[in-house]
């Protein structure tokens, strides 16, 4: 782990619906919501499935792996360059995130990445960010 392309992350706004996600994040576990009616996973997590409107949605533990769908590197910020982007999770949904611990030149679409949890400011729960999976 390094400070390359890291930025301080503010505490996320936790809602009643998202609290199980953030509680799990505090334990280092990454959850996605899946609908048992249409079997699709979605992001961000909701009570009612955004694909079929069923309320039969359940939390599911994920390895938090996927690939970079797109990104953009903000070159100037008070804490240095950082990358925002979408990762396409292996479960299917694309989620917004920051890519960390990667040199700007090494970040590319299609790169395999894995979740890690970064502490947030104040006493907020840690936030999911993604870093490259080390190539063997």
């Amino acid at each position: 782990m390094s400070d390359v392309m890291s930025r301080p992350i503010p505490a996320p706004a936790v809602t009643l619906e998202s609290k199980p996600f953030w509680d799990a994040a505090a334990q280092g576990r990454f959850l996605v919501k899946r609908c048992t009616a249409c079997s699709k996973a979605h992001w961000y997590p909701r009570t009612i499935c955004p694909f079929c409107a069923s309320d039969a949605t359940v939390w599911e533990e994920s390895a938090g792996e996927g690939e970079v769908y797109t990104f953009s590197i903000m070159r100037r910020s008070p804490t240095g360059p950082y990358a925002i982007g979408y990762v396409t999770l292996d479960e299917g949904p694309r989620m917004l995130t920051n890519f960390v611990d990667v040199e700007p030149e090494a970040l590319r679409i299609g790169l395999r990445v894995k979740v890690r949890f970064q502490p947030t400011e104040g006493d907020g729960p840690p936030a999911p960010v993604f870093a490259p999976i080390a190539e063997q």
Binding site: R7, A13, S72, I84
Partner: protein, 397 residues
């Protein structure tokens, strides 16, 4: 036209809860929607219009549309008049239905004043729930923490477009070059200097792959337009610009199905063109929202001025410059060079289209015999969620 007899209230649902410590306001909106649709024997997929007031969590109606997974919305309204908003909405829905803009309008209200949630009339910022929980926009915790700005979220769309279609920074630069050719004639333009492709691609990188000169200007200011009935218009001593078609569409992250290679213009454009009974080939002048160069390129593709993926080739070599190219665009210099008042470029897009149709644009950029124009806008973020709107305007002979 009257709304008399043109619309029916076919579904209604009052949520049974009177105290909801265990639900978010967004969830209550969705449960009310589900209840009313079930009452009517309809589904979320049938909804083609969405109405909420200003107290709904998020960004106008866009956050709730995305939250509920409404994919067929073609009419949106977030008129806020406090507690009477929903009666206003029924009236507005009837107008839209009578005009053929939609067939199934969903109107929702929800809130949690007993539990510290958003209150009508209170601040629209995320309200505190019990135990420090938020009851604000449902996406906030998953999106607002990552340092998203207009620059980097539009940058994400540009990066993906380049990856899928081979679009280049030089091609994007041509859009700024065309805008600057127009702005040189506009005394009020914030940037009046003509720039080259090299100037754009050599300007400093703001957020990959967008350079400083891929971005619009930041300006104070504003604008206004007046829309009248035909009777009033005929009594006025000004060239008459007639609205032939209007289309609108939200686009969000779609439960994680987001595809950044297209914008909501793929839906709003055909609606407006179909209503007007014209095609992109008929258009003489185009006002195209230009928060960034990539915004223009994607909207031109999505509106049908060229095929998806071929926007780079379409905008190159001065094709958007009045008097030189096939599709004169943003002849005031646009948001890229002239004006982007209070970071909202839609008003100036309408205004320059009106100037062109009246024949009142600067003589150096006036399109000869300009009798048909399009004005199109993307509000919000191309890279996350936005509202697209298209107008087809005609000079009445």
């Amino acid at each position: 036209m009257s709304i008399k007899g043109k619309a029916y209230v076919m579904g209604a649902f009052e949520h049974p809860t009177r105290d909801a410590p265990d639900k978010t306001t967004a969830q209550l909106h969705a449960e009310c929607a589900k209840g009313a649709l079930e009452d009517a024997g309809l589904s979320f997929a049938d909804v083609d219009a969405y109405f909420c007031a200003g107290d709904a969590p998020g960004f106008g109606g866009l956050s709730m549309i995305d939250y509920m997974g409404l994919r067929n919305v073609r009419h949106m309204d977030s008129t806020e008049t406090g507690g009477s908003s929903y009666l206003v909405h029924v009236g507005h829905a009837a107008q839209a239905i009578a005009a053929g803009k939609c067939q199934v309008a969903l109107i929702t209200l929800a809130g949690r004043p007993r539990n510290g949630g958003n209150r009508p009339g209170a601040s629209l910022r995320p309200g505190g729930g019990g135990s420090g929980l938020s009851d604000g926009p449902p996406e906030a915790g998953f999106e607002h923490i990552y340092g998203g700005s207009t620059h980097n979220t539009y940058g994400m769309a540009a990066m993906r477009h380049m990856h899928e279609f081979g679009t280049t920074s030089e091609q994007l630069a041509w859009i700024k070059v065309a805008a600057s050719h127009h702005a040189q004639w506009n005394d009020h333009a914030y940037l009046k200097d003509v720039v080259t492709v090299e100037d754009v691609v050599n300007s400093r990188m703001i957020s990959d792959p967008l350079h400083l000169l891929d971005c619009c200007v930041v300006t104070d200011g504003g604008g206004a337009v007046i829309v009248t009935s035909p009777e009033v218009a005929r009594g006025l001593d000004r060239p008459r610009v007639r609205l032939l078609g209007a289309g609108e569409a939200p686009k969000g992250v779609l439960g994680g199905d987001i595809d950044l290679t297209y914008s909501g213009a793929v839906w709003s454009g055909p609606r407006a063109f179909d209503e007007a009974g014209v095609t992109p080939a008929d258009i003489k002048y185009a006002s195209i929202y230009d928060s960034f160069t990539i915004t223009v390129l994607m909207q031109l593709e999505d509106l049908g001025f060229c095929r998806k993926g071929e926007g780079g080739k379409f905008v190159a070599d001065g094709n958007l410059i009045s008097g030189i190219g096939k599709l004169p665009f943003n002849t005031d210099g646009g948001g890229l060079c002239n004006n982007h008042p209070t970071n909202r470029g839609g008003m100036t897009k309408i205004i320059e289209a009106v100037r062109q149709l009246r024949g009142e644009a600067h003589p150096k950029v006036q399109v000869p015999n300009c009798d048909l124009a399009v004005a199109h806008g993307t509000g919000g973020s191309l890279g996350i969620r936005h509202g697209a709107a298209t107008l087809i305007l005609e000079r009445e002979a």
